[in-house]
């Protein structure tokens, strides 16, 4: 099984040096992805974690990818859903990197990780966990927390030592059989993870239809490379004629590409019980709107797709789409994770702190990517005793791309790589100077 480093090495240009940040958030139990009609059964667990990747070259961060993984465990089944949330480049890379190959390699890697990895240490939902009144939580008052700390100290516990009952629980996967889904939403935006990077003239932003094509090609490769043959692949373009949607998938390599979605609903089913809710996702926002308008119990799945297109946040005329894959990873490709290829933070707070050194920077000039790099490196070193992984590319460019590069120069990178898959990230909003 290729390690993460090997996977990337093979898609990065020969002898060029890169550094990779791979953060994994703690897992936490969450609500089912799709609203349940009946109360949730107690034997069902849904666990969520976030991967965050960033790639740097010449001490500048130039690429980032945010992926959520959801593990849904029922008594006899286990499903892993990979939600590709945001990917972005900022144009500050001196090498001709195929962002498409990098993105494909990273999603293949995440898709093939065994679900167990996410289940070892899970933060339970509050209503499910046993309340340990000697544990300090976010609901604990300052004074009570001081008393708890004192008690621990007097019992000779280390202040930070966990109480005997580790508040994190371990959820054991019921079987080695698991299904894998990939879901993403494509929409062109000037910037997703790199604020103000659209001001970098070497960053080229793909229009919606090209972006869709770009993603279809990425997902199609993944389908062929790591999934079994009977895996379903679906494309839905809200508001678009089936015939035109079909054109987009007609020449793909995957065996089972069709127009539709992977959410297993019939056209007349209520959308609210069929469409999953992802973070910061236009589909979810529209569902919430339906609830607010009191129409949640009226809008069917087919109507949902039609209305979604009319939503204000969908720019008129620009293609947006929902791509889904549902099937099995080839058993020989399922893997654990190698030592050192993941920085797993103990808390989501630290995860967010590291991530925000990248997503909170401004990328209208070179200082942004360079400060982001320096801050991440220093933080990893000072606080987490770790560092980014160094990767030396091994991919020898073929003639076509060489020629391409000759004619386009540096811009080749931008032209082939800039894309924006998903929705505006609210975390890009900076604090304005308060006076």
């Amino acid at each position: 099984m290729p390690t993460l480093e090997e996977r990337l090495r093979s898609v990065l240009p020969n002898s060029a040096e890169f550094e990779l940040l791979h953060l994994l958030s703690p897992s936490k139990e969450t609500h089912p992805l799709v609203l349940q009609k009946a109360p949730v059964r107690t034997d069902q667990h849904v666990v969520k974690a976030q991967h965050f990747f960033a790639l740097a070259s010449s001490r500048k961060i130039f690429y980032a990818l945010e992926i959520y993984v959801y593990i849904t465990l029922n008594l006899a089944s286990c499903e892993k859903l990979v939600f590709v949330s945001k990917a972005d480049t900022n144009g500050y890379c001196d090498h001709a990197v195929s962002i498409k190959d990098v993105t494909r390699a990273l999603i293949e890697y995440v898709s093939s990780i065994s679900p167990e990895i996410y289940l070892e240490r899970v933060i339970q939902i509050p209503e499910r966990r046993k309340v340990d009144i000697n544990a300090i939580t976010q609901r604990t008052t300052t004074r009570r927390a001081l008393r708890i700390l004192k008690k621990r100290h007097e019992k000779n516990d280390e202040c930070l030592a966990r109480s005997p009952d580790d508040p994190y629980c371990r959820i054991v996967s019921p079987s080695s059989q698991w299904t894998c889904k990939i879901s993403l939403f494509t929409r062109s935006e000037p910037q997703y993870l790199f604020a103000e990077s659209s001001q970098n003239t070497t960053k080229h932003i793909l229009p919606g239809n090209k972006l869709l094509k770009w993603w279809l090609s990425v997902i199609d490769d993944i389908l062929v490379n790591v999934f079994t043959r009977n895996t379903r692949a679906r494309l839905q373009i809200p508001g678009e004629e089936t015939l035109i949607t079909r054109k987009h998938i007609s020449s793909l390599k995957g065996a089972d590409w069709r127009v539709g979605d992977i959410f297993d609903g019939r056209p007349n089913d209520l959308a609210i019980y069929t469409i999953p809710l992802f973070p910061d996702d236009p589909k979810g926002r529209f569902l919430e709107q339906l609830v607010d308008e009191g129409r949640a119990r009226k809008v069917s799945l087919s109507q949902f797709w039609v209305e979604l297109q009319i939503q204000q946040e969908f720019r008129l005329g620009d293609t947006v789409s929902v791509i889904g894959v549902s099937g099995n990873i080839r058993p020989s490709l399922c893997q654990s994770v190698a030592n050192g290829e993941i920085i797993r933070t103990d808390s989501r707070k630290i995860f967010n702190m590291v991530k925000s050194y990248i997503t909170g920077e401004e990328y209208n000039n070179e200082e942004g990517p360079s400060d982001a790099y320096t801050n991440v490196t220093d933080f990893l070193h000072l606080r987490l005793d770790s560092s980014m992984v160094r990767i030396k590319g091994t991919k020898v460019p073929n003639k076509t791309s060489l020629r391409h590069q000759d004619s386009q120069g540096k811009n080749d990178f931008a032209r082939t790589s800039e894309f924006q898959p998903h929705t505006l990230n609210v975390q890009l909003v900076r604090k304005k100077l308060k006076k």
Binding site: E127, V131, R139, R143, H153, G360, E367, V426, V429, R430
Partner: protein, 273 residues
Amino acid sequence: MVEDRLTRSLDALGGVEDDIEKVEKEVELIRLSKLSPIYERRSRAISGVDGFWKVVLSQHSDFANYVRAADLKYVDCIKSIDIKWLCLENKNKDYRDVAISFEFEGIDGDFEAQVVTKYFTIEHDTSMFKYRGKRTEEDDLRDQELGFLTSKPCAIKWPKSYDGINPSLVSDKTSAKGKKDYRTGMKSFFSWFMWTGLKIGKEFSNGDGFANLLTDDIFPNSTKYYTEAQVDLEDENIDDEDISDGPIEMDSEESGSNGSSDETGTSSKKRKL
């Protein structure tokens, strides 16, 4: 001996927290007693500004989250809002205990003019809860220490147009329609007047949040909200959404070599986590 030092220090920190809380309460009392006559003066001034509360309430971005859109018709009838802090008359009361009064104008044939006062009291006894919803033991510990807001139900005459959803008029609560009407009524602003804080999940939801919004924000800052509502909305950042798609600021350094070498960037923004 090192251990003793830490124990003593943590104890001392706890004591300091107690004292800080005591001071904050004392000071709040002073503050409220000084502000109270000024607020009365303000009420008289407000009565000379037609539609003052209508402007304030319809422009406040949070207020709308607590009521149904249909309620806005009756929110517009609010002629005055007044808040009395009960600790000013009885030092034993918690400084968060308040009486909130609304004066409504009527709408002919639909809604009766009335003045309604709702009383709020901080309690610490968590055995008072009649329905606990998803409350945990930890919530209890927290509320026992910090206190939680409760209120007496208070009589308000509902608009006639609400007869179909007025919870006291929905007789059939078992049919689907009856349930739905009942629940719709429970979400109305008028149901807030019945809120007790002791029936989690079974009454107007987040009634304490609504009371706090009025007490801590809308009432003290009403003049500010009134004037803000008059500002030409075009050139203002109304809310976060607008900030995110506001004009992008360029670092002046980029625009040329004329920038001096000690330029450190004009960005006044810092990262947000």
